[in-house]
């Protein structure tokens, strides 16, 4: 999909496009159109469809193919309405409003039309609601009840029922194609949002089928969303198959931690068991989508969990212990180790509450050695100024941007929902995108500017076409991946980008420079004053190390004092737990109330859906318990008191859902040190679809994510399903 060449031709096309948009924009303030919906007068924007106009007055038109975030198809015919002076019923989803139009949405004529459409749909739809996973949350079921006829004229003895063979589109989405009513929502999603153009329709009429023609893996990081948009049970969740009905589950609205976008999710659970994750609509962050990791990695929350505290015995073997024993062991070590030899490292999935409690605990022991596992530059004002580590312009600002530069990031896999927004902007506006980093499929076309920091120097110097595009742009944006700023020369890259963004930011509201973090907990950690990166830990032989969910293997025993005592607090037994002398079992993000600050700096609250398993406890309460046993009791017993403490540190942490703009970007420029002019590789680690599925401790433990990664690897070798199956068989 990405094209690098053909710049001249595209420049010409761009010019014509710009002319066209200018011509369109010339008549300012379009006149409102007057329409009557069920006798109610309404003034609405021209170009709106009847269906949208009805929404404005709160009339929901029944529909299957129309979806708010997809293009209009107009093929289900369920949205028929009566328009005065029109002989035939009108498909309201596709018909634009016209001045003086009189629409009836509930007349007998409309009811009869709907009944007719519904009868046709049901003629070709199986009667398997009792064994269908969509049962209870099925649009067809609901609308058959409200708008359908009480009888059908199908003579199945003579006419037969349509049946379609199921397609295999990978380990995530289950297909029962007989149930498909050909609304083509999934096809439009695949083409417009996920950029998987192989998905389409074949055949005509009742022989029409949805699929990839030759069976293929649905190679997209957003593939799970076709489950949600499918109005019937044709596309369902393989993980959730035959598990529960929607009316018997509880729903908890929460926040996702798989990436730093902080997508809003709804956790569905029953009998203390997490069943599935579905997106929650939030137009500021994730619109209506979530990535496959967020949706499907939850099976890992049921395996490899730390269920009891462990204490390393005299024989060097970790043994299950009581909380009392574990806490007293930790507290004793904590008391006897001198302050400068103590350190704490938090992983990327940690909530702000825990980090605040841990920092307070270490401060009480006169230690400031609290750091994040993820690195971030120390110099150039890196973690000191908030504008240097947040997505300053907000995610939704991507839509109004007209020139976008991506530096050392692959948003497609680092934050799929943000990437979906970039693609949407790409499709529906004239945005020009430049990429410094890896030349991979980002689902949109871009100008590839190079793989090293030299490309930034060129942009600063004004060399090249894209430099001109950037400087001419009204709302330029730079998105830099946190990964690009790590390691040698990372600070210099940040400094150069600060210079570039200062050059580009003409009006004072936009900051241009946006940092895309990789971890849900990183922005929060930097907000409350954690040191970024574990480099300072290597300078001194640390004797007491407190790990909270640090599982990326950045620290090993060789970095520490040989006699070091390591405490691991977290939810999964992985690298961190193997390192530890004492393990304190904590809660995963679905099991605790926690605050997460997303990459924009928007603090959001997650709620517990289920209780922590076994002996595991909420993380901040563990830290609080340690503090009490160690003799320096933290002054909060309840989460309210802890949140009061959080608001003392940074008030925005408890101003939930609000975007908190950062200031001091001017000062950031003063602090910027370009330093060495050596080139830095800016190629992100995640380049291809298989790199997406297992990036954190939860998704690494997910069997489904492992299977999907395998399927993606197979699909890379051979995109067609059938030979891939034999490959897997050969491997086994």
């Amino acid at each position: 999909m990405h094209r690098v060449g053909g710049q001249v031709a595209r420049a010409a096309a761009r010019a014509t496009q710009q002319q066209r948009t200018m011509a369109a924009a010339a008549p300012a303030a379009p006149k409102k159109v007057e329409v009557f919906i069920d006798g109610k007068k309404l003034l609405c924007d021209p170009g709106m469809t009847i269906l949208q106009a009805c929404l404005l007055v709160g009339v929901e038109i029944p529909r299957f193919c129309y979806h708010d975030r997809l293009s209009i198809a107009g093929n289900c015919r369920m949205c028929l309405v009566e328009v005065e002076k029109s002989i035939k019923p009108v498909a309201s989803c596709a018909m634009p409003v016209m001045n003086g139009m009189k629409v009836k949405t509930d007349s007998d004529f409309v009811k009869k039309a709907r009944e007719g459409v519904m009868e046709f749909l049901l003629t070709n739809h199986p009667l398997d609601c009792p064994i269908c996973d969509q049962g209870g949350e099925c649009d067809l079921q609901d609308q058959a009840m409200t708008h359908g006829s009480d009888r059908g004229r199908l003579q199945s003895r003579y006419d037969g029922k349509r049946a379609v063979e199921d397609k295999n589109i990978g380990p995530l989405v289950k297909t029962v194609m007989t149930r498909c009513i050909q609304c083509t929502r999934c096809v439009r999603f695949a083409n417009e949002v996920a950029d998987f153009p192989d998905f389409g329709t074949t055949g005509r009429g009742s022989d029409m089928q949805i699929g990839t023609y030759v069976e293929k893996f649905f190679a997209s990081e957003l593939s799970g969303n076709i489950i949600d948009i499918c109005p019937v049970g044709a596309l369902t969740n393989k993980q959730y198959a035959f598990t529960a009905r929607p009316w018997e589950t509880r729903k908890t609205e929460s926040v996702d931690v798989m990436d730093a976008a902080g997508s809003n999710i709804v956790l569905t659970h029953r009998t203390g068991e997490l069943l599935r994750v579905i997106p929650k609509i939030n137009d500021d962050i994730n619109e209506e989508w979530i990535g496959d990791q967020s949706r499907f990695a939850i099976d890992a929350l049921k395996v490899q969990r730390l269920l009891t505290p462990f204490v390393r015995g005299a024989d060097g073997q970790l043994k299950p212990a009581s909380w009392e024993e574990a806490l007293f062991t930790v507290a004793a070590k904590m008391r006897e180790t001198p302050a400068e030899l103590k350190a704490a490292v938090v992983g990327g999935l940690t909530d702000v509450e825990t980090m605040v409690a841990l920092k307070d605990l270490f401060n009480r022991f006169n230690s400031e050695n609290v750091m994040t596992e993820e690195e971030y530059p120390e110099t150039s004002g890196g973690a000191d100024l908030r504008s240097n580590y947040t997505f300053n312009d907000t995610i939704s600002a991507v839509e109004s941007s007209d020139a976008l530069l991506l530096v050392g990031t692959n948003p497609r896999f680092e934050a799929p929902t943000i990437n979906a927004r970039i693609r949407k902007t790409f499709l529906y506006s004239d945005i020009q995108i430049g990429v410094i980093g890896a030349q991979t499929n980002l689902t949109y076309e871009y100008d590839y500017l190079g793989s090293t920091s030299k490309a930034i120097d060129d942009l600063l110097a004004g060399k090249g076409d894209f430099a001109k595009t950037l400087s001419n742009a009204k709302n330029p944006m730079i998105i830099v991946g946190a990964e690009a700023l790590q390691g040698e020369g990372g600070a210099a890259v940040l400094a150069k980008l600060q210079q570039l963004s200062t050059k580009l930011s003409k009006d004072k509201n936009s900051k241009v420079l946006n940092v895309l973090q990789r971890w849900a907990g990183m922005t929060g950690a930097l907000d409350i004053g954690y040191k970024a990166g574990t480099a300072s830990l290597r300078k001194k032989p640390i004797k007491f190390l407190y790990l909270v969910g640090a599982d990326e293997g950045k620290i090993s025993r060789s970095n520490l004092d040989p006699q070091a005592f390591v405490v691991y607090q977290g939810h999964h037994g992985e690298k961190g737990a193997e390192l530890a002398d004492v393990i304190l079992p904590g809660a995963a993000y679905t099991e605790k109330e926690g605050t997460y600050v997303n990459t924009e700096g928007r603090s959001q609250r997650g709620y517990p859906a289920v209780s922590p398993p076994g002996e595991a406890r909420t993380d901040w309460k563990i830290v609080r318990a340690v503090s009490e046993v160690a003799g320096k009791t933290l002054p909060y017993n309840e989460i309210k008191e802890l949140r009061a403490r959080m608001s003392e540190i940074a008030p925005h942490l408890v101003r939930y859902r609000d975007f908190e703009p950062s200031s001091f970007s001017k000062q950031a420029l003063e602090l910027a040190q370009t330093g060495s002019s050596s080139e830095k590789e800016l190629v992100p680690k995640q380049r291809d679809l298989p790199d997406y599925y297992q990036t954190n401790v939860i998704s690494r433990n997910s069997q489904l994510m492992a299977a999907t990664k395998r399927a993606a690897l197979d699909a890379r070798e051979n995109p067609y399903m059938e030979p891939a199956v034999t490959q897997a068989a050969a491997r086994a």
Binding site: K302, Q304, L307, S558, E578
Partner: protein, 130 residues
Amino acid sequence: MGGVKAALRKRYLMDVTRVGRHVGTDKFGNRYYEDNSYFIPRNRWVEFPDKVWLDYDASQVPPDWHGWLHHITDDPPTVKEPLTQKWVLEHRENVSIVPGQNEGGQKYIPYSTTRTKTLGWQPAEKKEQN
């Protein structure tokens, strides 16, 4: 056995000292008595054999005597042989609460019938010394 000692013993086991007509003894050594000067539920009783001592249990009474004891019939099995079939099993005491006598040698312990929902992590057996 008789005299004061037997009276005390009876009092200890049954909280009363009473004497009745000995109606019969079953093959387990349980002795059955009747004294119709008592009201109806209390007029028939069983005395368990000496070896049982305090480990007596209602399930030690076989079904044929159970019928007489509970006034289901007035004819004890010694008078009227109860109907039996060749497939009727030998009477056994219910030992599920007696430690060490159950099948498998274990006292019955109630257990959770639900599947484990969350699997725990087990630390690696051998710790590599660094």
